[in-house]
């Protein structure tokens, strides 16, 4: 609860400071941060990437937008999956993505392909919000339906990347 209140306060403060220039509103961003965290609860990374007993941080890489990255970093600060602290970093398509465990491509990334390309040879859970992303081999596609955020999972892509998705998560995925 406290975290939630803190989050709410942070979002309010950000909105006041940044004003209208932002591509995504704060509310939506908060939900996206919660979804990213929840999804990572049901994913198993290969030990080479994330030792289940170790305490190396889990790196959430955010494509493109510094503002979004900073907002997310604030929203996810202090959260951990097991002993792995969540770190948020902004990446570009030319960056080495090998250190990333999750790659989030917000809606405003119109060409997901470079990012997908860069992440392809690494066990990185890719989460995107566009249909293009899903079609070009993105693993989890977040979309709005009936005013609720839903997700669809490309189980094949995850498997190819060496990630294991929990059955319960698979059970909740709905194709758009």
């Amino acid at each position: 609860m406290r975290i939630m209140q803190l989050l709410m306060k942070s979002v309010l403060l950000l909105a006041l400071l940044l004003g209208q220039g932002w591509a995504m509103d704060q509310r939506e961003l908060t939900i996206k941060a919660a979804y990213l965290f929840r999804l990572s609860l049901f994913v198993e990374w290969p030990p080479s990437s994330l030792n289940s007993t170790g305490s190396e941080p889990m790196r959430f890489c955010i494509a493109g937008d510094q503002g979004t990255t900073e907002s997310l970093e604030t929203l996810l600060a202090g959260k951990a999956i097991n002993q792995h602290k969540i770190e948020v970093a902004e990446v570009q398509p030319r960056d080495d993505l090998s250190a990333c465990h999750l790659l989030y491509l917000p809606e405003y990334i119109r060409s997901p392909h470079p990012f997908l390309q860069a992440a392809a040879s690494h066990p990185i859970l890719t989460v995107g919000e566009t249909e293009a992303f899903y079609r070009q081999g993105g693993m989890i596609f977040l979309y709005n339906k009936d005013n609720r955020i839903r997700f669809a999972i490309n189980e094949q892509a995850a498997k190819e990347a060496g990630l294991e998705l929990r059955a319960q998560l698979l059970h909740l995925s709905q194709q758009p």
Binding site: M1, R38, L41, F42, N82, Q168
Partner: protein
């Protein structure tokens, strides 16, 4: 037999049942507890598992808030009936899903408490539910809670079910235990009971040879063994005891037999001894009888010869013969007495006796001997000695004569003194007799043996003094029989003293009474002088006179007397016949010659032998009185002195009878088995009878009496075939010869013999040896027609018998027997009584009215004595009663009336007697 509540059987049963009950209950409780815990554990386990499964399955639906999926994850709870309610909460504590068991009656959802929302799973119990809350984690992040509510009802239901099962199991187990214990207790109690039964068999059958065969248990076996041992011991003991008893019984039987044998032997011996003793006694009695009969003949014929003899020399010889016979007779008597006493056959014949009569008789018998040895004989009777005593006169006389003869025998000079005095030392009144002499005496050794049989001082004594040596021994035994003890004291040269005391039983009349009748104290007594040379006699006589109230002086010699007569005036002079200086007769003449002494009455004193001479002197020369020595009877002395002054006759004492003309009898029957006795009687009576008839026994006598008319029967007592008693009885009863005079003749003239004769119907009894004088006297009485029996039946008798009168209150029979059936005497005495007391019936009343107690008492006392003597029993009884009451100075009027009535009755009865006298 066995108290059921305490029997081992019941105890065992009880113990088993109790033990199994307790064990079963404990086990049941433990089981239920365990089951409870187990059930609870099951519940928690089941909840934990289900909560875990739900938490795992619902993770994604919680994370992504998928309510449908969440509800689905709770749906599996329907398979667990105990969970009635469940909730799923997300991390914001929002309820994502809820489950309620369709059939549960949960009215409202249980509250979710904050306490449930912890970081670790917890269990919490309320009254109805067991709550399990579990937090749900995903990758170390708490994402929500699952809370399950389990209902206890099922748990309780299961528990109740378990309890029921346990209860049933317990009950079943108890039933089994009961059955088993019933079966098993028999194992224990059976052997014990059988042992007990066995013991009872042994006890009831008394069979100690039985043995127990009980091997069921080690303990019982031990008990049985011990019991067998015990039985063995008992058997042994009992058989030993039985044996001992048998032996004892055998011994006792043997002993009984022995005792029986011995007893029979003893009985035989006793019978033999008794028979021999009887034979001895009979022999002695017969012998004495046999000896007496010829002796009697000797005596009587000798006396007849003596009477007929003219020659003095022959007379002398005959007298000697008589003396010898007397001695022989006394010897026989002694022997007979001794044998009687020795055989305990001596029977005393107690009678009312006149002591003075006894003494007179003794004096008569011994006078000659005293005169012969020139010894003084003093009889000293104390004034308080009663005249009449209750004793066996014959035996008392015998003892006294024995002792006096003994004293005479051993005394050469001096005197023999017989003292009689009441002995007041003992607890009961006694009368003491003491005979002392001045003879040779005895030393102690002799004194010790003196009462032994056939013992005398020593052999020389026997030679010198003669005697059987039985006398003292017999005396001692007789005194013992009479209740006294004969003692002797003596020292050589100083004489001997024999004394004994007898219980004094005075007869109704006492000494005072006699004196009251005979001695009138109111008469002034004369002054008396005694002239007596012998000192002892003089002192005694003076003492007697003084006791009568006389003033008495004494002189030793005739001259001394003459001297004193000049100095003092005496009324009466008593002179001994034997004076040393002057002949007593001469002295009398001298005194009579003196005119100054004309008023003096003189009595000469001498023993019986001198009586005749003095009487002759009195008739021919000058009148003098005769006083028989020794003087001992106060009454006689008084009368002697008083008759000198007054002419009135002594009261109530019979006067001598005038001689009567003899009648001749026509026929006399003499019954005796001894011819010589019959001859003797015929000889004596030849002048008095015309004809004699003889019979040898009672039967012959009866036969004769049936044919002949007889005037008199003289009947011997001891005869063969039929004795005198029986014969007399038959004569009186069968022949109805009630008026025929029958006179018995017996050798044993005891009072009892006499009474027996009277009872048989005899008129009188004579003792053998037949005294000629006695026979003649009886004959005279008979011929006068005054013998009791003939008098009774003679219708034409001049003097009617007393029995013809109606004399109420007078026991004529007893009165007559007291006077030896001397009816005439009795009649005279009764007449005297009548004359003295006629018209005096009110005298006593007068005395009492004047309160003259002493007078009344004296009068009654005198009357009582007289009535007792005359057998006027009714008045006597009243007198005794009134006399007793007078001691308390009050008389009951009832008794006084009775006395008066009886007195008048007696007097009026006697009036006929008195008036019938011509």
């Amino acid at each position: 037999m066995i108290h059921t509540q305490r029997s081992i059987k019941n105890r065992l049963f009880f113990i088993i049942v109790l033990t199994s009950t307790i064990v079963l209950l404990i086990a049941g409780l433990l089981f239920i507890t365990f089951r409870m815990m187990q059930l609870k554990q099951d519940m928690t386990n089941s909840l934990t598992i289900q909560a875990g499964v739900i938490a795992d399955n619902a993770k994604a639906s919680i994370v992504f808030k998928d309510k449908d999926e969440a509800s689905n994850s709770l749906a599996s709870l329907q398979y667990d009936p105990q969970v009635i309610y469940a909730v799923l909460l997300n991390d914001e504590n929002q309820v994502l899903a809820r489950y309620q068991r369709p059939d549960s009656d949960l009215s409202k959802a249980p509250r979710i408490v904050d306490a449930f929302l912890t970081d670790s799973p917890i269990f919490s119990e309320t009254e109805r539910y067991l709550v399990h809350a579990r937090p749900i984690y995903s990758q170390a992040n708490k994402i929500g809670h699952v809370i399950l509510y389990a209902d206890f009802s099922r748990y309780r239901h299961l528990l109740a079910h378990t309890a029921l099962v346990v209860g049933i199991v317990i009950i079943l187990a108890l039933i089994v235990a009961l059955c088993l214990s019933y079966l098993l207790q028999k194992l224990i109690s059976k052997p014990i009971e059988s042992l007990a039964d066995f013991v009872w068999t042994v006890i009831e059958g008394q069979n100690y040879e039985l043995r127990v065969e009980n091997k069921s248990y080690a303990e019982i076996e031990r008990l049985s063994d011990a019991f067998n041992k015990l039985l063995e011991q008992i058997h042994y003991a009992i058989s030993a005891r039985d044996q001992a008893q048998m032996q004892l019984k055998k011994y006792s039987e043997q002993l009984q037999e022995l005792v029986y044998d011995r007893t029979r032997q003893l009985e035989n011996a006793k019978e033999a001894a008794e028979a021999s003793s009887r034979a001895k006694s009979a022999f002695l009695a017969n012998m004495s009888h046999e000896i007496r009969t010829p002796m009697n003949a000797i005596v009587v014929f000798t006396r007849l010869a003596l009477n007929a003899s003219e020659s003095p020399h022959q007379q002398q010889q005959l007298k000697r013969a008589l003396e010898s016979v007397d001695l022989l007779l006394s010897l026989i008597d002694d022997l007979l007495d001794f044998s009687r006493i020795d055989a305990n056959k001596m029977e005393l014949d107690y009678q009312d006796c006149d002591l003075f009569e006894i003494l007179t008789s003794i004096n008569q018998m011994l006078t000659a001997k005293f005169v012969e040895k020139e010894l003084e004989f003093i009889i000293d009777v104390s004034e308080t000695v009663p005249r009449h005593i209750w004793t066996d006169s014959l035996r008392l006389k015998q003892v006294l004569i024995n002792l006096l003869t003994n004293a005479l025998k051993f005394t050469e000079r001096g005197q023999v003194r017989l003292s009689i005095s009441p002995d007041k030392n003992g607890p009961s009144p006694q009368i003491n007799f003491s005979i002392s002499d001045t003879g040779i005496g005895m030393d102690r050794k002799t004194l010790d043996r003196i009462f032994e049989v056939f013992s005398q001082g020593d052999v020389s004594t026997t030679r010198k003094y003669g005697g059987t040596g039985l006398g003292l021994s017999i005396s001692k035994k007789l005194v013992t029989l009479m209740g006294g003890n004969l003692n002797a004291e003596s020292r050589p040269g100083q004489g001997s003293r024999f004394s004994f005391s007898l219980p004094l039983k005075p007869v109704l009349a006492e000494a005072e009474t006699d004196n009251a009748i005979a001695i009138d104290r109111s008469v002034p007594m004369p002054d008396v002088m005694v002239v007596e040379p012998r000192q002892q006699s003089r002192t005694h006589l003076v003492g007697l006179l003084q006791s009568l109230g006389c003033k008495a002086d004494s002189a030793e010699t005739g001259n001394g007397a003459l001297n004193q007569l000049t100095r003092h005036h005496y009324r009466h002079l008593l002179i001994s016949r034997n004076l040393p200086d002057i002949d007593a007769l001469k002295l009398v003449r001298l005194i009579r010659a003196e005119p100054r002494l004309s008023g003096l009455s003189i009595s000469l004193m001498d023993n019986l032998l001198g009586e005749q001479a003095i009487k002759q002197f009195s008739e021919t020369d000058t009148p003098v009185g005769y006083l028989k020595t020794p003087v001992f009877d106060r009454v006689l002395l008084y009368r002697h002195l008083v008759s000198g002054q007054q002419e009135n006759a002594p009261r109530i004492l019979p006067q001598a009878e005038p001689p009567v003309q003899l009648l001749k009898l026509s026929c006399v029957l003499i019954v005796d088995d001894y011819h010589i006795n019959r001859l003797l009687v015929m000889d004596i009576l030849q002048d008095q009878a015309e004809r004699f008839l003889e019979a040898v026994n009672g039967r012959e006598a009866i036969e004769i009496l049936q044919k002949e008319k007889v005037d008199l029967v003289l009947m011997d007592i001891q005869m063969p075939e039929m004795d005198g008693y029986e014969a007399t009885r038959r004569i009186r009863q069968q022949l109805q010869l009630t008026s025929l005079p029958i006179i018995g003749m017996t050798a044993f003239a005891g009072e009892s013999d006499r009474r027996q004769c009277y009872q048989a119907g005899m008129n009188d009894v004579m003792t053998k040896p037949i005294d000629i004088e006695q026979l003649r006297k009886i004959f005279h009485q008979l011929s006068k027609g005054q013998a009791r029996f003939s008098a009774v039946n003679s219708a034409a008798g001049a003097d009617p018998a007393l029995t013809n009168y109606r004399l109420p209150g007078i026991d004529v029979e007893s009165g007559l027997s007291r006077l030896h059936n001397d009816e005439k005497k009795y009649k005279k005495l009764l007449e005297l009584f009548y004359n003295s007391y006629q018209g005096k019936e009110n005298l006593l009343e007068d005395y009492l009215a004047q309160k003259n107690w002493a007078g009344a008492e004296a009068w009654l006392h005198a009357l009582k004595g007289i009535c007792a003597n005359l057998s006027i029993s009714s008045v006597n009884d009243s007198c005794v009663k009134l006399h007793q009451q007078l001691q308390n100075r009050s008389v009951e009027p009832k008794d006084l009336q009775q006395f008066k009535h009886r007195f008048t009755e007696v007097i009026s009865g006697l009036r006929q007697v008195a008036e019938s006298e011509p």
